[in-house]
Structures are given as structure tokens and as C-alpha cells.
Amino acid sequence: MKVPYYPGCTLHERARDFDASARDCAKALGIELEELPIWTCCGAVFPLTTDSVMEILGAVRNLAYAARLGDKVVTLCSFCYNVLKRANKVVRDDPERREKANLFLRADTEAREGIESYLKGDYVGQVDVLHYIEMLRDLVGFDEIEKRVKKRLEGLNVAAYYGCMLLRPANEMEFDDPEQPTIFEEFLSSLGCNVIDFPMKTECCGGFQIVNDEEIAIACSQTVMGSALKRGADVVVTTCPLCRYNLDEKQKEIGERVRDYEKIPVIYFTQLLGLALGLGEEHLDFSENHVDPRPVLAERRLL
């Protein structure tokens, strides 16, 4: 089965480990992630002003590119998922902005006459935006994944961190319950982990504020990681490179400021999936991690 795939800029650069593990796991489960031949940055954040058209053009164009490949596009990064899905909704529900966006797309097509253009016809919201975990649940099934698990991750205490962009705003994202989501916990159960639920799993990691004021990210990271640690997590999984960076890296500062703070690794859920599916260590690149997950994995006899 082929599924159109939008990686987003970060997954081709800082988060290559996320991209690689996701592709390898998909392949092991019988899905080929078909990367869009042409794509650009989605914009990273969804603009909240009512007059934004330019600001969502990048996202709309990516969706238009995806429309050439099929009726759905899967993505991994929480921010990309949020931006694409919300931009999609603007196109579907707001006729004025839809028309304005398509004006630009049509001009774009004309300008690219000599180059193979992927835009034919207006984009009116014909593509559904899926998150990789939704793809696992709906196209493969968590029960099926459980059957294919070669190495049950027993004894490993795993906390799923959702963050903001997957869940909010709930009426547009329609991903899971915004206060008590369970999709990742169900997924982790199928891998055999000891699932750790913790109250801060939907609190913000600080997001892009890491660029403005590091202190904000440190405070947010402390709230989240402190809670996961208190609940006994060995490792935290996430689906967003920015979350992973903020939560993982800022533990350095938290460790310096808080006595008795133990650093715990933050990895992508696809890396955990890869481990459980029995893909070798070469598929689970942990070189980007500040806190190396290998010691705790080895301790639980999983490596």
C-alpha cells in the first residue's frame, strides 16, 4: 500500500532520525510512504488572524501537490499536521479565502509552464490530512501491530507526550479528546510497554519561544518532564521535533537547577516502534538525543 507522505523541512534536516525510523517501520508494516515529489515548508505555525491568505499559501500548495497523488496525505510532525489540517479547513469552509488562495495557485501554475507543474485544477479540500499514528490505527490496526511485534517492550515505562498541536483546537483537529487523549497509550500497549499516564502530557513544551526566551522553554520543559519523572517514566515519546528538542535539551538546565532531577530520554514514537518491530539498531539513530536512551533500553534488556 502506498500512502502520500509529507515530511516537512525539519524531518529532512534536524529530525532525520524521525523520518528514517518512520519510513522503515511503515515498510515493515507493508506501507510505502510515497514522499511528494515537490513540496515546501508548510509555514511551521498556523496564522490566527482572520485575513491570512498569504500565510497559509505554502500549506495549501502542499495540499494541492498531494492531491495529485491521492486523496490523503500523511505527516509526522505535529506542527505540520496542525498547519496542514487547519489550512485545509480554511479552504473547505471559507469560500473567499479559498478563491484567493487558488488565484495564487493558478498564477503559480502559469509561471511554471516550462517546468513540470503539479497543479491542475483548483484545490478545494479534496485531500484528507492524516497523522502517522492515525494511519497506523486505521490502515494497519493496533491489534495487527501487536501481532507483528518481535520484541515486546516489557518492563519499559513509557510516557506518551502529546503536546498542543495534535489536539487543539479540538473541533478542527478531531484527533482525540483534548483533555484525556488515549490514542498513543493504546498504541504503546500494543507494543507491550508499561504505559505511564501523566497529567502534563497535554501541556505546552514552550514551542517556538525557545528562540525568543530560553527561560520559557526551560520552565515548560520542567513542568512536563518533572511530571513524567514523578510518575516513573523511563522514556518519553513524542511526535514533534520541536517538542523533542525542548524537552530533551533543556533537561541540562533543569538538572543544574533542580536537586534530585534525573534526566530521562525523549525519543520519537517511531523509534520505539522500530525497536519493537525488531528493526536493528542502525534503524534507530539516536545521535540527535541529548539524553541517550540506550542505557535505559539496555537495562531493560531491549537492546
Binding site: 516537512g8 525539519t10 496564522p47 519561544q209 528562540v211 525568543n212 526566551d213 520559557i216
Partner: protein, 137 residues
């Protein structure tokens, strides 16, 4: 000092612009403080979210535009998600920032030249792009 309220002050052009840009009805807010209570970054703010809306309701847009608050919002949408009246404070923040950035009323909070090289080389670029879009325009 006594603040004078009048029809002109309370219904000023700037206040209308904020409502127009954000798509939010400021008068729907009944000041329950849910936004402030759930905001993950409120400790760094100088005016808390519910107070920002209160000042806008009273017509004082200037104070709000000069605050640190609007540059600290991380757009996590917790406020918008929990507000019992459906007022999206996160959108109001975006609108206030847009007013400052589009008219260059003050220098942008994040300058592309000044982003640390450490961040540029190590942080996921989505963070840098996001910060520049939200805080620099």
C-alpha cells in the same frame, strides 16, 4: 488616578481593529480567568491574559500593545480550548502582534540576525521559522 471611560474610548478604532483581525468578540469574555489559569507561560507575562482582555474591553489598547505579554504567547491554544465563552485569547494575541508588526510600531522581538548560532545549528528549523513568523512578521 481616575480612568475616564467614555463612548469614544471604549469603542475606539483600534479596539475594533483587534476584534476584526482576531475574529473574537471581546464583550463575550466574562472575566472568569480560565485562560490565565491554564496558560503555561503566564509567569513570564507582565499582564495576564484575562487582564489583557479586560484592558481591551475598557478601551485601553495602547497599554496592551506595549506589553511583554503578547510576545510571550506560545500559541499553544490551551486558553482557546478551555474558554467557556469561546473567546480565543491566542487569536487576540496574534492580532495584537500583527498590529505592531505590520505597522512596525516597535522593533520585532526576534531579529533574524540575532538568533543564536547555537540555535540555528542545533534546534529544529521549524522552531526558528515559527518564531520569526509569529514574532517578527
Amino acid at each position: 488616578m481616575r480612568v475616564e471611560l467614555s463612548r469614544e474610548r471604549v469603542n475606539g478604532e483600534l479596539r475594533e481593529r483587534v476584534e476584526e483581525l482576531s475574529g473574537q468578540h471581546l464583550s463575550a469574555c466574562y472575566q472568569c480567568g480560565m485562560c490565565t489559569a491554564g496558560c503555561p507561560v503566564v509567569e513570564t507575562m507582565d499582564i495576564v491574559p484575562s487582564e489583557v482582555i479586560r484592558l481591551l474591553q475598557l478601551g485601553d489598547v495602547e497599554t496592551v500593545l506595549e506589553s511583554k505579554t503578547i510576545w510571550i504567547c506560545a500559541s499553544c491554544l490551551q486558553c482557546a480550548s478551555r474558554c467557556p465563552r469561546g473567546v480565543e485569547f491566542s487569536s487576540i494575541c496574534d492580532a495584537l502582534r500583527a498590529i505592531v508588526l505590520r505597522k512596525r510600531l516597535s522593533a520585532p522581538k526576534v531579529d533574524a540576525d540575532e538568533v543564536s548560532s547555537v540555535l540555528v545549528s542545533e534546534a529544529p528549523q521549524m522552531g526558528v521559522v515559527g518564531a520569526l513568523r509569529k514574532l517578527n512578521g
